[in-house]
Symmetry: C2
Subunit: 560 residues, 2 copies
Amino acid sequence: MTITNKDKLIIFDTTLRDGEQSPGVTLTVNEKIEIAKQLSRLGVDVLEAGFPVASQGDFDAVQRIANEVGPLMVGREAIGKPITIAGLARAVPADIQRCYDAIANAPHKRIHTFLATSDIHLEHKLKITRDECVKRAVAAVSFAKTLVTDVEFSPEDAGRSDQDFLCTVLSAVIEAGATTLNIPDTVGYNMPEEYGAMIKYLIANTKGSDKVIWSAHCHNDLGLATANTLSGICNGIRQVEVTINGIGERAGNTAMEEVVMAVHTHPDFFPVYHTINTSLFFRISQLVSSLSGMVVQPNKAIVGANAFLHESGIHQDGVLKNKQTYEIISPETVGANTINLVLGKHSGRAAFRSRLQELGFGELTEEEFQVAFNSFKTLADSKKRVTEQDLLALLSDQVSSSAGEKTTYTVKSLQVVSGTSFATATVQLQNTQTGDVLIDAAIGKSGPIEAVFLAIQRLVGKKIHLLKFDITAVGQGVDALGQVSVKIAEGSANGSSSDSEDSVTETEEDKDAGLNKATYHGHGADSDIIQAATKAYLNAINRLVANESKRILGERKVDV
Amino acid sequence: MTITNKDKLIIFDTTLRDGEQSPGVTLTVNEKIEIAKQLSRLGVDVLEAGFPVASQGDFDAVQRIANEVGPLMVGREAIGKPITIAGLARAVPADIQRCYDAIANAPHKRIHTFLATSDIHLEHKLKITRDECVKRAVAAVSFAKTLVTDVEFSPEDAGRSDQDFLCTVLSAVIEAGATTLNIPDTVGYNMPEEYGAMIKYLIANTKGSDKVIWSAHCHNDLGLATANTLSGICNGIRQVEVTINGIGERAGNTAMEEVVMAVHTHPDFFPVYHTINTSLFFRISQLVSSLSGMVVQPNKAIVGANAFLHESGIHQDGVLKNKQTYEIISPETVGANTINLVLGKHSGRAAFRSRLQELGFGELTEEEFQVAFNSFKTLADSKKRVTEQDLLALLSDQVSSSAGEKTTYTVKSLQVVSGTSFATATVQLQNTQTGDVLIDAAIGKSGPIEAVFLAIQRLVGKKIHLLKFDITAVGQGVDALGQVSVKIAEGSANGSSSDSEDSVTETEEDKDAGLNKATYHGHGADSDIIQAATKAYLNAINRLVANESKRILGERKVDV
């Protein structure tokens, strides 16, 4: 089968909205902007930046992305226009207005509004009739249309909605001006064949279906998000809602790199083409993994560490004449070849700057550049081979700890003694606000990292609950950078935990008590794992201190 | 669509053969036996235990699995028969005989033989004609049939073979007595629709196709292994070749848990049923991850840490009356509910023993039980909440370091001093063979773990190349167990590395020099990350010392 007239496949990235709903993931505004810049450079068509009505923090993030990333053309020369910034809004005027206010400055902007259409949602959650549902959907789209030309509508819980009623709603919103219709498989239950058949039915039975772009939004609960999305494409889907590394709630969303590479490697099978710069996939995968703390397993398709490693001898067999068919994707195509490139220890500033540019960090201020260069030099002193992967980890670290939040505490010195029984840490912190230098020590029964955390707790005079603690190694040597990511919340002064004095890990009671508390994410990278943990913990504490007076409460996450 | 007459879906697990071909994974015989026992208990029908001709080590592992796991009935009462032990063999008499010798003692046994059928392989690799190919395939199956009744044949590179020639080969091997025909998508290139169509065509055009079981073997390079396998099932496949966590070369094999749960949740869609005890999935996933060192990403379908975590509020919404449809898989169904269960610090031996039984470690000797109980007590002293997940990590550790290999070195004491500049480690080892106690110290520029490794190198008097170093945290607190896995090889005395004196990580030159060297895997778990690293390193060194005189050379991995 050869397709002659191909449509462009629109890549709608929701790493910053649905991806950020992954349990335990909280990105700062700076981290979101860095990811958004890289997504723009990758060639993403539409970027869902957040859910502006959810909180002031979400609003600010979407607004800054619209202002700072919305107009960028770097890396998009072939596409010829900047990225479209989308914001999510429930089908109510206040949400839609708030969404518009956040994205207003982007040259290309989209309002993405949604309303449940299944009877179970209408009756039990929204408590409205089907007629009222159609009216609300039309009202929402009509209002959005007065603000922007580009309006997307999602019927929430489409999979369990009556298909003919769904066609009625969809016909009505097209009439009202919707330009994209997105069909979610919210619970990840569909088989590829079923999802494709549903798309086909909806397109065939919705009035005006040829005037809009149909979009797929799948979840990976059975490991089928990619297959479902591809089945959608074969049945009329022209926009795919995806995330980098497939991150998202539960088992995640559809992985962008898998869908794009399936289309890329099967030009004769799919009726679409894409305009993604696939050679950036490996790097952006690493960046998102670092910043989100969501590990990519070695056997992950396309971007896993093993994806291009061949253990058996057969693949190197030079007699195979048709290499291209055998090696379905070359490492270069997704940028897997450069990730382990060694950076010369004696690299000068100019060489380093040009490497940063290649990595998409060309827009650092002079001060930021100097910080990055110093980190590189320090690492190069302790490590034989500094790779591009190490550099990405350092840069992620810098993005996370940089500007935006004021840094209250910095480590002046750290000393750890540990052995076969227990560990002692002595930590000296400087309070940059007051100039005070504080020093104290603590014992850790579970090793040196616990000792350091307990000493820091004493110094900052707070009871901190550690909600999450993850370690991963970047690269392969003993001098591999260790990356630690932590999530913390402040405990009550009269800690309900029976053992609160010398505890850093939450108990069940803490968990209950902490349900409505703000949580803070921190991460750190260092070739010394204890230093990495110290950086991560202090990074999170600095955020806690900075935000102490502006806690954000209330529900802010939605399911689409 | 309701299917009334269902066939049983045969689950063929190849975690120990194709899964073990994951880059960096090397399982010891003890580790393989433990995984095999758990797979038998899970309800796997056929277990591919290895490739006996590849090396003496592979032969021994397959033979011990055939002898020790082959007859087990624990957990298989509903299935009514023990697991079938399969071995892989090229289509040559020596391979087939060697395979038979390894599996001979299993009550149910299978020889799995393979031969390439694509022209490109025939011409360039095997240098034989199509006629010769048919002859060899028939000869191999006929010979295998004289040894066992259960013979599986795989046409390697089926995807690129001429389909009609493939039918000729397959018809001939059925005639010769093959009972299962396995169709691999070796390079993971097929779209689900294409793979399903190929299966349909082969079944329709192969003589005697109704007399055999058709099997699917897919790879995950585009993230479609599960979808391809399921498409196969819809088109006549009745055996699936899968691995736990989808481990395997490059992006891995089809994940057993995904295929089984797709079938499980769609009883009206698939014409098959399964007899897997799905409630063991989470535990076996953890065990395989621990022993193989292959991390499972949090957003992995079915067995990822987040797979059953809901971040948004909607899912807890009590108004949804139809919980079963909404929550497509309950955590209990795959055993995700018990993994974080806390084990009482004051648990006695009886309670502990019954917990071990639940975890499938009921057959420990009294001595092994005592070691496990002591580890548990030690951990419970340093950690508030010991979970089932921690216990699995401890047991994995014990499996890895236990019997089979003699332990030459044990740590008597360890002292580490580290801080913001460099680290010093003092290590005291006992050589259990000679009774000598050795002590030395070293400096680590990259932190305390490097210091410990360098001190150990001095004590054992060897130059060790570290080929792989991975850290992961089990669980969520700062007292989470850290798991470290390492891979090492011995360096040449006159190390080619310019910096060999104080180096533990391989250089490019080391890599070249080490290509034909035996490598040793080690792992360790401890709530103190430095202790975990020390255990892992010494575990690997003990294996190196034990195997010093019996290095196994030569290619041992194949692509099917």
